[in-house]
Symmetry: C2
């Protein structure tokens, strides 16, 4: 556990990171009730900065918070999975296209470095593996040089992460994982060579066959059955 005073400029930021990580890693399960007092003592701060963090997470849709009601971690739903997919299907290709247009030498270096040793996620991936995967996509976002697009996509990524984890509970075949690796490679090639159309097309394909798409499909099945 890092020392809050050393790394973060405010305890509010620290609380935000801690709680967010707890939600994304599943230590706080979807639907779980959040007691502000006990959460605050667990993190080691008082309730005011925690509240600010929770409000921020509410803004990002990770927690539900009504006045004078106990807050809870937002539950997963087939609708949200579908919603996320529809937007990312539109914005991720945009980011890839813009990246192919505007990438600098530094961007290319970062994308190459993030791609280095990147392997398709196994079932039950480590936090580091998820981070590595994210870093590659974040590098593409960054190369778009559109700040609002970057932060929007980062937020969508956070929301999607919980669905990704869910999809990874079912082991994928080697063929599917090879396919993902191939897509990462051609994504990189297209962006570096300035192939705007190609980058967008590959990215759209990448999203359509992504873990999030699998999760959306599975959740829809569950909903339709019941």
């Amino acid at each position: 556990m890092p020392d809050p005073a050393r790394i973060y400029t405010t305890k509010s930021d620290y609380a935000y990171d801690r709680v967010r990580k707890m939600i994304l890693e599943g230590h706080l399960a979807p639907g779980q009730v959040l007691n502000q007092a006990s959460l605050a003592t667990e993190i080691g701060i008082s309730t005011t900065p925690l509240r600010e963090a929770l409000r921020r997470l509410k803004g990002e849709g990770l927690v539900e918070l009504d006045a004078h009601r106990d807050g809870r971690v937002s539950p997963l739903s087939a609708e949200e999975a579908r919603d996320l997919l529809e937007i990312r299907r539109s914005l991720d290709p945009l980011a890839a296209a813009l990246a192919a247009e505007r990438r600098t030498k530094a961007d290319i270096a970062e994308m190459r470095s993030a791609h280095e040793g990147l392997e398709p996620l196994p079932g039950d991936p480590s936090y580091d593996q998820l981070l590595h995967h994210r870093r590659f996509h974040a590098a593409i976002y960054f190369a778009s040089h559109n700040d609002i697009l970057i932060s929007t996509l980062e937020e969508l990524w956070n929301k999607a992460d919980r669905y990704r984890r869910m999809a990874l509970q079912v082991e994928r075949g080697q063929a599917a994982r090879d396919q993902k690796a191939h897509e990462h490679q051609s994504l990189l090639d297209c962006i570096i060579s300035g192939n705007v159309e190609g980058a967008a097309t590959v990215m759209r394909e990448h999203i359509d066959t992504s873990l999030g798409a699998h999760a959306a499909w599975r959740l829809k099945q569950q909903t339709d059955e019941s």
Copy 2:
């Protein structure tokens, strides 16, 4: 001035609405320093709920807030105007297409009602006129039945509003305003008749020739000159 206790469930929400409105209406100018203590007394609350509101506005990009530094209203910039346009050019057509696919009878009624008496914005528009215009577009967003897309677009709209205001300082010709009215009409027609492709196309056109686009162009000129 509304009584906070009566309308809002928390003072934090009240403060958020008040400050946001002050920024969007220009009572707090871009770049202006925000003193928490005086802002709080002006609104009639203490600093804690105000701080929560400011943090929320920071998340939406309307204020800049660093640790232990004085906060300020985010300045306008050519980059942000361009960034906004690029994303809206992608997401607004998506919303229109989804709306054409999923609109319910209630959606159609609301879109029709919002379109009723809608007139292209004059120079120096009233708050009500801006609201009416927004209501029409919000009705389209809503008909997409994608909650994340709706909230994302609402946020982008807020950010874009300040640029819209800027563009309206230059009076538009009657031809341009007639064109906008025509676009609103065919947007409505396409969505109601379920013309998915058409709705997306008209919306893209609508964005490309929007006030935000004019503002982006003007800001770019200014930057290039200096």
